[in-house]
């Protein structure tokens, strides 16, 4: 037993502790403790009144037992009794017991509060401190209720001792954290702010912590603390400051207080007052300078304290994000730390640089350290440091270095610790998608991810690659070729089989011309993996097979053979068996046309937030990951617009089911009867395709829709209330053809459309979001009358443009859901520009035609304010989406856009020239259009000018 000469003599406690330490086994310890508990219980219950010392000793033993990890269910009352002892040590042990073992027994709380009240009123600073420590340690609501008004008074009273002020300040801090509603701001708040000027640095330190918590919740009321904090900081950190004696820690002046003052300033924007602001800048410069000075001591405590202040100063510089000079200096300083011999400093430098990378002033400066960071990834021995390096690479990534960073991360993944693999996979997947200049690179990257770390590739990642391949025609052939090659590997990850199965099922035809990847080869390759896969993957492969029957009629027999085998038709798994039976039957009964309709290529997925981005956010929680996505989103949209946040809600939907939901066959499977009845009603499906036995004259459909308001439409029930026309999403479709047109809680309507010359075809997808069937479903054009819960119905509209027009057709939809008639009227996004054919021409031709169209009514010009960020890439994408051809090197000013196209209608063709001049300074555009028809010029100008 150590010799502590400090006068307390609880010999019994020391003996007990020794006994416990001498216990050879857990059982012996429990036995000894139970013996002690029995002893204490009998003492407390005994007839003989215990003196204060014994009470203290037993309470202390109970506390020890509790801290060993055993439950204590008595002794609270004895501890409370000790509180009212006038002997300091008894009181102290009583308070310690209460602090550690507080119990919400209301009777006791009242007694405890009573004792605290007496001690607070005792004017004995030692007793007052004990009471305040207890409140700060317990911090319960009952205590807040009892003392929320008393403690501020103690804190600001003129005659309160310094040490009591310190306890009172932190006591209030705790109560403000646990019960902020009970702590009313008041006159005392401003007096607390003035404690920043107190003589006693201990008081200032405690008060600063309190002010930080108060300022976080009521910044306005504590605004006056800013100049005081700057003044105080300046007196600590500038070279002329006097010696702070005991508050100097290893030659660093008041490091704790400096850090707190810098933290406080991070609750506010840069000071508005010029003098305060320049004084603060001086302080920050002084701190940065000190980091460069030779150390005053070799002790690690010296450098830790010095750099603690430095890192906090850098946090403030980043928070203000307004002084490029300081930001770059901070970045250089951190760059030095990246190679420091102290692991701790390297770790912190990597962490701090992550936030610097998000500032536009220092992003480039951070990027210069890329080689060092990559080196850290390869050589750091500590996984938590490597993790920081990964974070920083992710934060500093932009289009210029994406390929390098993604390659390095992929390389690292091969040897990375299992604990961080999934996160690296997500990050690589996000970067690859976000900065993909060509999507072949993206596809390669994701397949590499699956190859290297297939087990860590979550479903979101492989769903996403499929979504992107489906939505981008330019990469489909490449994707098919690449997955085919990847599948050649003798052992490939099941995730690759899923991606491969899905992509070949959709786009296998694109590579079928090559004899090395002929239909039969593709099928055999996939089927060779079948038996090694889990049930969900097998189910997916079966769907691929039926898709193959449609894509490659020549191997129908082979596939039917496989489906017919006992291992499929009699599979013990219900889902697999059902798929095999139904697909086989479908392939036998359906005609080629029907198969082609049912097994058509997947429509594009609606744009939505990348599900993997959401997953990463969820993993890290907000804030931990520097939100580079958000802060730099505007700059990186454009090509990758599809990645950006569109619909957060959609994330939850991205499961295997909903992936399949858009392909017509999977869901119908759930109700095969309905599926087949639908198929065997040829009239109905013929109608859907618009090629019925008595084909309507082409164009009549459009006329029908247009005239809908005048003539009674064939299906909507009469007497239904007219619904307000929904056109919210209409503008979104001016420059693109696919997406979600309408969505409410019940129904989602998606569109996919294509136009050629004066003709168009629009596929309307009705998705039932509920689990209940919609009855009496009808639209302005006849359609199947029920939509099953969770299922999707497709309708095709044929469109012909007769002459130029302004008003878009209104489309009515009606159905019964749970007995209520739902009526929806939607403006169909058919706009004049859809009938554009882009036209290429040389500068000379352009100017010649431009001059020809110089009559005043032929030109329409509009000057308008930019509604969105002005980004050349986005503008280009929109103009191309509008349907015109962009002409380079026509306008002498490279930031202007010049384009041409021809509008096709049944009767005439109208040539159109346009020029768009962005003025980024004024955030304005000037759009000039010239066509041979004034009505066309006007309409196109209205449509296009609304898009920026």
């Amino acid at each position: 037993m150590p010799a502590v000469s400090k006068g307390d003599g609880m010999r019994g406690l020391a003996v007990f502790i020794s006994d416990i330490r001498n216990c050879k086994s857990k059982e012996a310890e429990v036995k000894r403790i139970n013996k002690e508990l029995a002893n204490i219980r009998s003492k407390f219950k005994g007839d003989k009144a215990l003196d204060g010392y014994s009470k203290k000793k037993y309470v202390c033993k109970l506390l020890f037992i509790f801290l060993l990890g055993h439950d204590i269910d008595f002794g609270h009352m004895e501890a409370v009794n000790l509180l009212s002892s006038n002997k300091y040590t008894e009181k102290q042990i009583g308070y310690l017991f209460i602090s550690v073992l507080v119990n919400s027994n209301s009777d006791l709380i009242r007694l405890i509060n009573n004792a605290i009240k007496n001690d607070l009123a005792s004017r004995n600073p030692t007793f007052m401190n004990l009471a305040l420590h207890c409140i700060a340690n317990v911090g319960s609501r009952e205590m807040a209720e009892a003392f929320a008004t008393e403690i501020p008074r103690i804190l600001v009273a003129g005659d309160t001792m310094d040490s009591v002020k310190q306890s009172a300040a932190l006591c209030l801090l705790r109560l403000n954290r646990t019960s902020p509603d009970l702590l009313a701001m008041g006159e005392w708040t401003s007096r607390v702010v003035h404690l920043l000027n107190d003589q006693h640095l201990g008081v200032v330190t405690a008060a600063t912590s309190l002010i930080i918590t108060l300022a976080q919740k009521n910044p306005d009321e504590l605004k006056t603390s800013v100049p005081l904090a700057v003044g105080r900081l300046s007196r600590i950190v500038t070279p002329s400051s006097s010696d702070l004696l005991d508050y100097t820690y290893y030659f660093v002046s008041a490091p704790w207080l400096s850090v707190k003052l810098l933290r406080l300033l991070q609750c506010y924007p840069p000071p508005e007052d010029g003098a305060v602001r320049s004084r603060l800048t001086e302080c920050l410069e002084a701190i940065l300078n000190k980091a460069q000075e030779p150390p005053k001591s070799k002790k690690v405590q010296h450098s830790n304290a010095k750099y603690a202040v430095l890192f906090e100063a850098i946090s403030l510089i980043i928070h203000h994000d307004s002084e490029p000079n300081l930001l770059v200096r901070a970045c250089n300083q951190l760059g030095q730390f990246l190679q420091h011999r102290e692991t701790n400093l390297r770790y912190l430098a990597l962490e701090s640089m992550c936030t610097l990378a998000t500032s536009e002033f220092s992003h480039e400066a951070v990027k210069t350290h890329i080689e060092t960071v990559i080196n850290a990834l390869k050589t750091e021995r500590d996984v938590s440091v490597r993790q920081r390096a990964v974070d920083l690479l992710y934060a500093m990534c932009d289009r210029s270095n994406a390929k390098q960073i993604v390659a390095e991360m992929l390389g690292y993944l091969e040897t990375a610790d299992y604990s961080i693999r999934e996160e690296i996979v997500l990050k690589v997947a996000i970067l690859a998608e976000k900065y993909a200049v060509d999507y072949t690179w993206y596809v390669d990257t994701i397949l590499n991810l699956i190859r290297i770390a297939g087990d860590y590739v979550s479903e979101e990642v492989w769903y996403r690659v499929i979504q992107i391949v489906i939505n981008r025609d330019d990469v489909q052939g490449y994707a098919a070729k690449t997955v085919f090659e990847a599948l050649q590997a003798p052992a490939c990850h099941e995730n690759l089989v899923k991606v491969g199965g899905y992509i070949l099922g959709e786009f296998g035809n694109l590579i079928a011309g090559d004899p090395r990847s002929s239909p039969l080869v593709q099928f055999s390759l996939l089927h060779s993996k079948f038996h090694l896969c889990s049930v969900p993957s097998r189910a997916l492969l079966l769907s691929t097979y039926i898709k193959f029957i449609n894509l490659f009629p020549e191997i129908k027999g082979t596939i039917q053979e496989v489906l017919r085998s006992d291992s499929q038709l009699r599979n013990s798994d219900v889902e697999l068996q059902q798929r095999a039976v139904e697909y086989l039957r479908l392939s036998c009964v359906a005609s080629t046309d029907i198969l082609a309709t049912v097994l058509e290529e997947m429509p594009p997925f609606p744009e939505r937030e990348s599900s993997i981005l959401a997953k990463l956010k969820k993993r890290k929680g907000p804030g931990v990951l520097p939100d580079t996505e958000d802060s730099r989103k505007d700059k990186s949209a454009g090509l990758n617009g599809a990645v950006e946040t569109v619909n957060v809600r959609a994330v939850a939907q991205v499961d295997l089911r909903s992936l399949c939901a858009t392909c017509q066959y999977c869901h119908s499977l759930n109700d095969s009867r309905n599926f087949f009845s639908h198929l065997t009603s040829p009239l109905q499906s013929a109608d859907l395709l618009g090629v019925g036995s008595t084909p309507p004259s082409s164009g009549s459909l459009l006329v029908d829709i247009f005239s809908e308001n005048h003539s009674p439409s064939p299906t909507p029930a009469s007497g239904a209330p007219a619904a307000p026309i929904f056109d919210e999403n209409f503008p979104r479709f001016v420059c693109k053809n696919n997406g979600v047109l309408f969505e409410n809680q019940l129904l989602q309507i998606g569109l996919k459309s294509e136009f050629r010359q004066n003709l168009g075809r629009m596929y309307v997808f009705y998705g039932n979001k509920t689990s209940t069937q919609f009855l009496s479903f009808s639209s302005s054009v006849p359609v199947d009358s029920t939509v099953d819960g969770g299922a999707q119905l497709q309708q095709t509209l044929n469109i012909e443009c007769m002459s130029d027009f302004v008003e878009a057709p209104i489309f009515n939809i009606q159905f019964r859901y749970g007995g209520t008639l739902q009526t929806i009227a939607i403006k169909l996004p058919i706009t004049l520009n859809k009938f554009f054919q882009p036209t290429e021409m040389m500068a000379q031709d352009f100017f010649q035609r431009w001059k020809q169209l110089s009559a005043p009514q032929q030109e329409v010009q509009k000057i308008f304010k930019a509604k969105n960020a002005m980004d050349a890439e986005i503008t280009k994408a929109k103009l191309i989406g509008f349907g015109v051809s962009l002409l380079d090197q026509v306008d002498p000013n490279p930031s202007n856009f010049v384009a041409a196209g021809i509008i096709h209608t049944k009767t005439v063709q109208v040539g159109c020239l346009l020029r768009l001049e962005p003025n980024s300074q004024a955030q304005m555009y000037r759009l000039t259009l010239r066509t041979s028809r004034d009505s066309v010029s006007q309409r196109l100008c209205d449509l296009l000018s609304d898009q920026f």
Partner: protein
């Protein structure tokens, strides 16, 4: 700071201080997980790690690990020096502190901590001032202990 734990190389908890309200069950779970995580780390590794949504700052002194959990915006290096200052205080008070001092005088370790840190924030960073407060209390104790000196001889386990 959300909490501070002191534990031995064998994983025995020697001191626990919680600055956020948690149930006993949660406290035990956190302690178990954290002790395991920290003990598994190699000597030259960095003193900081991410754990759940907290930052852990730890340092080993002889056979004892001092481990603090701080929040995202808190400063790691200054927390490391909080640990060091606490060790200095214990050292000064006990005279070259060892694990046994903290086992046998656990209540003193708590009292010193309360003088130094309150509500998870530094209350008094001057070594001299903290020790003065503790010594004053000990003085009160000594004066009073004369009153019950006789009883100490009779004490029963």
């Amino acid at each position: 700071m959300q909490f501070m734990l002191l534990f031995s190389r064998q994983g025995k908890l020697r001191l626990q201080k919680w600055y956020v309200p948690l149930s006993d069950k949660e406290k035990k779970k956190i302690t178990r997980e954290l002790v395991q995580t920290v003990l598994a780390r190699k000597p030259k590794m960095c003193s900081f790690l991410e754990w759940r949504d907290l930052k852990i700052v730890y340092k080993r002194y002889a056979s004892l690990y001092f481990c603090c959990a701080i929040e995202d915006q808190d400063n790691e290096l200054i927390t490391l020096e909080i640990i060091h200052r606490y060790v200095e205080l214990l050292d000064k008070y006990f005279g070259s502190v060892c694990e046994l001092d903290i086992i046998f005088n656990f209540e003193k370790a708590y009292f010193i901590l309360d003088e130094f840190l309150l509500g998870g924030e530094a209350q008094e960073t001057s070594k001299k001032n903290v020790l003065k407060a503790i010594e004053q209390a000990d003085l009160l104790q000594e004066n009073q202990s004369e009153d019950w000196g006789g009883l100490a001889a009779e004490e029963v386990l």
